[in-house]
Structures are given as structure tokens and as C-alpha cells.
């Protein structure tokens, strides 16, 4: 392992992370809900009365965040190397996987670990390990 000191952005990572924590704090302390993006989104696929609008409001905020960010400074570059085909497969896996696991990086990784949930710790360790292994094997395969 070699640390990429040029790409490493410790301060903006910590600051952005604190904002994510603040958002999770707001949602649990005001709306009484876990800020788990996959769960909030999936809840709209099987809508239940009285449980729709807060989800739409949260997701709307997430989607329009770039517009607000842009009024302050130029948007950061977004680089997606994956092809459309790979993105479709990856999206399917993320969709199915996060539902069986009942959470993703936000629900388990941020909120679950903040709650000291052993279940979320297990999920986070597993999806991190799967992510590390996938990148290792995928980049090895593409390099051949």
C-alpha cells in the first residue's frame, strides 16, 4: 500500500463528513428517522400512507444539493470511469444488495456505526471488504 498524498484531502474529507453527520443528526433528532439513503429511496417503491412526503423532501434535497453548492463555488469534477454496461450491472447489485442488507454506506456505515450497532458494523466490514476485493480483482482484470 502506498498512500496517494496528492489525492488525499484530509480537511475537506473531515468537514464534508461532519456535514453528513450533521444531516443524519437533524433527521434523527427532528424527524425521528435514520438517514439511510437506500432505505429512504426504497420506501417510495412500496409507498405507505403518511410515509411518503418526508422521503421525497429528503431525496429532493440530496438531488438539488449541487445547485446550492454551485452558488457558493464551482462544482467539483466527477469522473465515472465505468462503462454504461458496468454501471447497469453495478446499479442492480447495489439495489438488490442494499435491500437484503437493509442499509448502505449511510444507513449502516454512518448511522449504524454512530449507534454502535454490531449488525451495522458487520455490514460495513463486509461491504468494505467486498469493495476492496472487487476493485483489486477488477483493476487487475482490466490491466491484463
Amino acid at each position: 500500500m502506498t498512500i496517494d498524498w496528492i489525492a488525499f484531502t484530509p480537511w475537506s474529507a473531515l468537514a464534508g463528513g461532519a456535514l453528513i453527520g450533521l444531516a443524519a443528526a437533524m433527521l434523527i433528532l427532528l424527524n425521528g428517522r435514520i438517514a439511510g439513503i437506500s432505505g429512504i429511496l426504497a420506501g417510495l417503491l412500496v409507498p405507505r400512507a403518511g410515509d411518503v412526503r418526508w422521503r421525497v423532501a429528503f431525496l429532493l434535497g440530496l438531488v438539488i444539493a449541487p445547485l446550492l453548492y454551485e452558488t457558493w463555488r464551482p462544482l467539483p469534477p466527477i469522473r465515472v470511469d465505468a462503462t454504461y454496461g458496468v454501471l447497469a450491472v453495478a446499479g442492480l447489485l447495489v439495489g438488490v444488495g442494499t435491500r437484503y442488507a437493509a442499509g448502505c454506506t449511510s444507513g449502516h456505515g454512518v448511522c449504524g456505526l454512530s449507534r454502535l450497532s454490531p449488525r451495522s458494523l458487520a455490514a460495513t466490514l463486509v461491504f468494505m471488504a467486498a469493495g476492496f476485493l472487487t476493485v483489486f480483482m477488477w483493476r487487475g482484470l482490466l490491466a491484463v
Binding site: A7, A25, I37, L62, V94, G95, G97, R99
Partner: protein, 152 residues
């Protein structure tokens, strides 16, 4: 009021992803690429988020109602079972292939990226696969408690 706070929470979450650089799949993959040039940033994003979040959840655990008078819904699932582990494996593979997880994909969608749109549509399809499979299963056998929980 609850709608406004939910909207603001979503906005702040999205801004956090942008500020931290996590809306960019290339940067996320830089973290997941342990064997290559490793970018530890994502680890610090989690650290910052958990530092703030743990205070909030410690407070929330002791309250049945929020400051807005809404019932606090904390996950009740405890079991570490096959759906949790298997689902996390699938999620991790998809995450490693694209560099997108659900939050950043929605932020990138807001930036008008066609690739984010493809990912999000596929992700929704994947979520529907789960709904159909599990609803059909639950008609016969009983559904594990964990699967019926909201999130996390």
C-alpha cells in the same frame, strides 16, 4: 415543518458528499484501491460523520419523541444473518465496480450526469427485484424479521 427539516437534512447531506469529494466515484475508488495509490479520504469522511452522528444518536436513544414531537424510529433488528451478509457482499461488489453508492449517485444525478441516471435506474430495478422476490416469499413462508425493517 417536518418536510422542511427533511429537505434541509437532504441538502446538508448532499453538500457533505460534495465537500468531502465523495460524490466523485473516482475518489471513492481511490479509497477502495488498497493495492494501488491509496487515497484514505473516505476513512476521514466516515470519521467526521460518526463523530457528529454518535452524539446525536446517543441523545436520540434516550428520547421516544423528537424535538418536533415525531416518534423516534430506531432500527430494532439485531441479528447478523445471511441476508445482511449476502446483501452487503452484493452491495460491496456493485460499489467497487462503479464507485457509486446510493447517496453519491443521487447527487451526481442532480448534476445531470447521464451515467448517474443509468446507475440510479438500475439500482431502482434492483430494489424492485428484492420487493417482488420477498413479497412472493412472504406469501408462503414467514419473512425474517430483519427483512421487514426499515433500514440499517
Amino acid at each position: 415543518m417536518a418536510l422542511l427539516t427533511s429537505l434541509i437534512a437532504g441538502l446538508v447531506f448532499g453538500l457533505g458528499l460534495l465537500v468531502s469529494g465523495m460524490a466523485n466515484p473516482a475518489k471513492v475508488l481511490g479509497f477502495l484501491d488498497l493495492a494501488g495509490q491509496w487515497d484514505p479520504s473516505l476513512g476521514l469522511v466516515m470519521t467526521g460523520a460518526i463523530a457528529v452522528g454518535s452524539v446525536a444518536f446517543a441523545v436520540a436513544a434516550r428520547r421516544t419523541r423528537t424535538l418536533l414531537g415525531i416518534e423516534t424510529k430506531l432500527p430494532s433488528a439485531r441479528r447478523i444473518d445471511l441476508p445482511l451478509i449476502g446483501g452487503s457482499v452484493l452491495f460491496g461488489i456493485g460499489w467497487g465496480l462503479a464507485g457509486f453508492c446510493p447517496g453519491p449517485a443521487l447527487v451526481a444525478l442532480g448534476m445531470g450526469l447521464p451515467k448517474a441516471l443509468v446507475f440510479v435506474v438500475a439500482m431502482l430495478a434492483g430494489m424492485l427485484v428484492f420487493e417482488f422476490r420477498e413479497r412472493r416469499t412472504s406469501a408462503g413462508a414467514s419473512l425474517p424479521v430483519e427483512l421487514s425493517t426499515e433500514d440499517a
